[in-house]
Amino acid sequence: MDLDHARIKIADLRQKADFPFAPLEGVGPNLAGWGVIETCLLLPESLAVMAGPSACLRHSAFMAHARGFTERFHMLCVSELDMTLGNHLQKVEQGVLDIASRRDEKVIFLIVGCPDYILGTDFTGVINRLEAATGRRVILGAMAPITIGLKDSPFTSAYTAFFDFLRHESRTPDADTVNLLGTFMPLSDSGELYQVLRGAGVRRILQIPLCRDLKEFSAMADARASVVLHPLANGLNGKMVAEMDIPSCFAPTSYGFEAIRENYARIARAVGRELDVAAREAAAREAAGPMLDVLRGKSVAVGCAINGSPFELALFLVREGIDVQALFARGTIKPYEWELIERLRKVRPEIPVYNASHPALCGRTGDFDHVQVAYGVDAGIYCVNAANVPLSRYQEQKYGYEATLWMLERTREALERPVSNYDWIYGHNFLI
C-alpha cells in the first residue's frame, strides 16, 4: 500500500473530506482526548464506576492506572449476554450501591460503553433509584468510541456533564474572577497567564483540576468570564454561556507569537481588561532567537499528539524559517484549525499531512529518516532518527509566550540529551 494513500499536501487539504481515508485503523499514540475516566475525575469529590464487558473495562483501566486515578475508579464486569437481555441493570445498580456504601464521594459517574449506547439501554430508573438510595448525585456517562466524529467525543461529554454542578448555582458576577477551562494538568499559579491576569486586576483564577471541593468548583458560576484553553471544554463553556450568561473566549494553547498575541487580545475582550503583554512578547522574541537559530537548517515533523494544534506549531516554525517536512494528524481536525491550515497553505503548500492512523503508515519509518526533530510522540514513532519533543498534555503546562520558550527549551534539551520515543510512550506514559 503506497504512502500516497496516507498523505495529502496541505495545498489540497481544504475540507474534512480531503483528509486521507484510512480503510482500517492503524494505531499510534495520536488520540486527542484525555480518557473519559480521567476527565470525570477532574471533578472534585467524584468517583467513577464503569460498567461493561471486561475488554472495554481493560482499555479504560490502563489509562486510569497510568494517571494514578485508581483510588477513585471502580469497574463492574458485565457480559454481552446480560446486556443484550437487559439483565445487567439490576446487577449494575447493586454493584454501584455496594461501592457507594464503602465510599464517601458526593458524586458518582456511572460510565457505560458502546454496547449500552447501541442497545439504547435506559438507565433512568437505575440512576433515580441510586440517587434516592445513596443521597449522592449520579451522572450517567458513556465511554463510547462508536460515536467518534458524530457527536461530542466521550471526553467532551464527560467534561460537559460538570455543568450539572453549576446550573443550579445562583450567579453573582464577580468582575475579578476568571475561569480557565480545558486544563488537565493545571497551569501553575506562578505562570505567565496568572501573572498577566493578576497584573490586570483579576483576583481569583479558577481551574477545575485545582478545585479542592464542589463548593470551590461552584464558584465558577460567579466568574466574570471563562477562557477556554482546549476544545474539549467547548461543550461545558457553551452551556455556561447559554444558560448562565458567562462571557467567554477560545484561546487555545499556542506556540507562535502572532497566535499568542491574538489569544491575549481575545482574553482581554472577554475579561474586560487591558492585558499588558507587549513587553513579554519582546522579551520572548529575544530569548527565542538563539534557540530558533539552532532549529534553522534542521528538518522537522509535527504530530497531533502535542498539546495544541500541530498546524499552529507548524505555522509558527515555518514563519520562523524552519523546514517543516511532515505533519501527522487525524481526521478529526478541529474547526479552529481550518484557518491555521489556510494560513499554512499560503506559506508552505507542499508540506504533506499524513493520516497518523492509516495502516499504510505503520512500520514505514524509512521515509522519515531525514527528520531531525519530531514534535509529538506520534511523529516520534515514524521519525526514528529525530530528537523527539513530546510537548505532551501530560507534561507541565505552560501558556502564552512562556509556552513558546518552554517548547524551545524542551527542543534544545532533546537535541542535547535525547529521550527515546519508546521511553516517552512507555516510560512516561505519554500514550495519547
Binding site: M1, D2, H5, A22, P23, L24, E25, G26, V27, P29, L31, G52, P53, S54, A55, C56, L57, R58, H59, A61, F62, H65, T70, F73, H74, M75, L76, C77, S79, E80, M83, K91, V92, Q94, G95, D98, I99, G113, C114, P115, Y117, I118, L119, A144, P145, I146, T147, I148, G149, L150, P359, A360, C362, G363, T365, I381, Y422, I425, Y426, L431
Partner: protein
Amino acid sequence: MKEYHHLLPLATGYFGVSSALYDFDGLVVIYGPAGGAWHINIEDEPRWYRGPATVVGAGLLEMDVILGNDAKFIDNIVQTAKGLERRFVALSGTPISEIIGTDLKGFARTIEARTNMPVFMVPTAGSEPYAEGASKALLALADKFMDPDAPKVANGINVLGAIHLSTGKEVHIEPLLGALRTGGFEPVAVFSASRPGQADPLSGVRRAPGAAVNAVVSTSGLALARRMFADYGIPYAVGMPVGRAGREAFLALLRGEASASDRPVPAPDRPAPHRHALVVGEPVLGHGLRHCLRHDFGVDRVDVVSVSPGDALFRQGEGCLGVLAAREAGDLDTDEEGRIAELMNDPDVDLIVADPCYRALLRGRAAFVPLPHIAMSARIHWDMAYEYAVDAGYDYLAGHLLHA
C-alpha cells in the same frame, strides 16, 4: 458480578487472538469500534512498536452498526489486505459484533473469495478468557496452514501455547527451548512465535505435523494439542517446567518415561525459606511454579490461583503423556479481585508469586516475588527483567527467595 478496583480486568478473547497470531505476518482485524485495536496495540501488544500494521481496527461507528454497512467494511478489509500484502487475514469479534450478530464467517468467505488470501474468523466477543480466544485462533491457524504431509522430524517437538500474554517476550521461553534441545528434542514450531532465520514466518506452522511430540506450555495450547493428536497422532505433555526439578520432570514426561508425580525427587539441601506460598497467574505456569517451589526450594504448601480457567488441564485425553500439575485442596480458579485479595492476605501465607500488579492487594507482610503475567499487566511490566523457565527460572526465584 466481578468488581475491579486495584487490578486491571484480564485480557479477553480478542486480545488472545491477537497474541496468538501477531507474529505470523497476517492482518488481524478487530471488528469493533475505533479504539479496540488501538488499546490492544498500545497497551497489550508492545510488539506493535514501529512494526507494520498487524492488528487493526474496523473503526465501526454508530450508523454503521445501525445500518449494517457490511459491504463497506468488506471493501475496506479487502483494500487493506491487498494493499499491505499480508499472508492471511483474521477477523475477530468484539462486544459490538457479538451484540448485533455480525456474520463474520460470511465476511471471511467473501474476503477470501475476493483476495485469494487465506482468511478466517475467530469467534470472540469481549468477556471470554483470553486463553479461549488464543486457543480458537491457534486452531484456525492450524486448519489453514498445517501441512498434513509435512516431513517427519525424529525427536521433533512443537511448543504449543507460548503466546505472549501467557509467556511474555520470546526471550523468556528460550531457556525452555534450550533445555528441550539439550534433552534431545528438535523444536519444529513454536505457537506463537516465528523462529529466527525463517523467511516465511508460517513455515513452522506448516511443518508442525511432522513433529514427534507436542509440549503444551499454557492452556491456550491444549485444544490444538488434542486436535493434533486426533489428526496426526502426535502425543503431548502439558507443563511449564520451572526450575531444575521441573526441567527434569517435564523432559521425562515428554519422553514418556514416567508421570511427574511418580518420580522420586531429592530433597533440597537447605531449609525452606517459606512455609506457605500462593501463586497467582496462568494455570500451567502456576503449577510449574508450585513444582519448583516445592521440589527445588522445599516450600511445604503451595496454593495455585488460576486466573484463567484451569479445569481443562486435568481432563487428560487420549494422547496425553502427562501433566506437570496436580490439583490440590488449596487451589482455586478465580480472577476476582476481592477473592484474590483475601487469599493473599491470609496470615498463614508467607510468600506470594504473582504479577507485580497484585502487590496492590497485599496488606500483610508476606514476601512478594514479582513475575509478570502479560495478560494482566501488559506493557506495564513488559520490559521487566524476570525468568521462569527451567534453570533461568530457578535462578530468578533463588535471587528472591535465598538472597533477598
